[in-house]
């Protein structure tokens, strides 16, 4: 391109070249150059410049419009190709999509679980500064055997044995064990109602027969039971692994 004094301004031409969408770029640019020189000769430089720049700015909106339309068309094309690929390779598609789905589901569940754990007991505005007081034998490191512990300000209990802390992955969390006779009649009378009770059956016991029998006893002996009372004896150690059932 020669840079004679008749040629169009470089910046305008540069811009125009990039936004031309119709026809052959160089040919269209040449046509504009020809028209520019024609106007330059007939009406002077300022008019020609004004005309050329107006053409440049008028060309910009259609350029972006076509850019948008084409990218949309290409996106549609990609979608179509992907769909055809899925249909052609059904087995592989099934494996990869279901794998991806499974992975995403796991991730979402893990995320939800972590979120729930992090927010557990966080409702209090001073949650960061609240601590749980863990009950320990008040005597510190001294041998507690034979010492007396006061329970519910009512019962004086003598420590006769010490066991290890119960594992946290059990619902049998307790701090101490007391023979039921000591706690008294009150507790004993409502044992099936107010406390979780555990039974150790013989290896070959008839479970269904036992269930019927004990239900009958509870219904008969306990005055609070009505015809709607349901006695359920689930296996103790299935409790945690089947939380939805019990």
């Amino acid at each position: 391109m020669n840079n004679s004094k008749f040629s169009s301004p470089g910046l305008a031409r540069w811009t125009l070249k990039r936004v031309i969408i119709a026809g052959n770029r160089d040919v269209v640019l040449g046509d504009f150059e020809e028209l520019y020189r024609e106007i330059l000769q007939k009406r002077g430089r300022s008019q020609a410049l004004l005309w050329y720049w107006a053409q440049v700015f008028l060309s910009i909106p259609p350029f972006f419009k076509s850019l948008f339309i084409w990218s949309f068309i290409m996106f549609k094309n990609y979608l179509k190709v992907a769909l055809r690929n899925i249909i052609k390779h059904k087995g592989y598609s099934f494996i990869s999509i279901s794998g991806l789905t499974l992975g995403m589901v796991c991730c979402i569940f893990i995320f939800l679980w972590v979120q729930d754990e992090l927010n557990f007991d966080r409702f209090h505005k001073n949650a960061d500064n609240i601590y749980r007081v863990i009950v320990k034998y008040p005597g510190g490191n001294k041998d507690p055997l034979g010492k007396i512990l006061r329970y519910r300000n009512n019962y004086d209990l003598t420590v006769t044995g010490i066991i290890e802390n119960v594992d946290s992955n059990s619902h049998l969390g307790f701090d101490f064990v007391v023979p039921i006779q000591i706690i008294g009649e009150q507790t004993l009378r409502t044992w099936a109602w107010d406390n979780t009770s555990y039974l150790l059956l013989q290896e070959n016991a008839d479970l269904d027969g036992f269930r019927k029998k004990i239900a009958g006893i509870i219904m008969k002996e306990d005055k609070r039971s009505t015809t709607k009372t349901r006695v359920d004896i689930p296996p103790c150690f299935f409790r945690h692994s089947n939380p939805l059932i019990f």
């Binding site: 391109m1 020669n2 040629s7 169009s8 031309i20 969408i21 119709a22 026809g23 052959n24 160089d26 040919v27 269209v28 640019l29 040449g30 046509d31 504009f32 150059e33 020809e34 028209l35 020189r37 053409q55 008028l58 060309s59 259609p62």
Partner: protein, 111 residues
């Protein structure tokens, strides 16, 4: 064979009339002259490209021309398909206008 739109027909006739001088600027000037309406510069390339795609026009490039900043012109020429299409368009026109002697517009008739 695809039919011609009105603009396409006009452009083909323009190319035919302009002969060896048929490139975008004279074609646009011719249309402006005949129709009386200004066609945008960009608007001339779209139907021209379409006519080339349909096979009614062929193009050839000129040598670089100094008045165009050293760029070449793209000239258009009718193909035989273009001729046939124009001929067909003329037939349709003739059929449509056959027997219509004169058109008189009288405002009273519309009342």
């Amino acid at each position: 064979m695809p039919t011609l739109s009105k603009l396409e027909e006009q452009i083909l006739l323009g190319v035919l009339r302009l002969g060896d001088d048929a490139y975008a600027i004279p074609i646009r000037n011719y249309l402006k002259e005949v129709i009386g309406e200004k066609l945008s510069i960009g608007g001339i390339y779209v139907p021209l490209d379409r006519l080339v795609r349909k096979g009614f026009l062929t193009t050839f490039q000129s040598d670089p021309i100094p008045e165009r900043g050293g760029m070449s012109r793209r000239y258009y020429k009718l193909t035989s398909d273009g001729m046939i299409a124009l001929e067909k368009a003329r037939e349709i026109h003739n059929k449509l206008w056959e027997g219509i002697e004169q058109l008189k517009y009288s405002p009273e008739r519309e009342k």
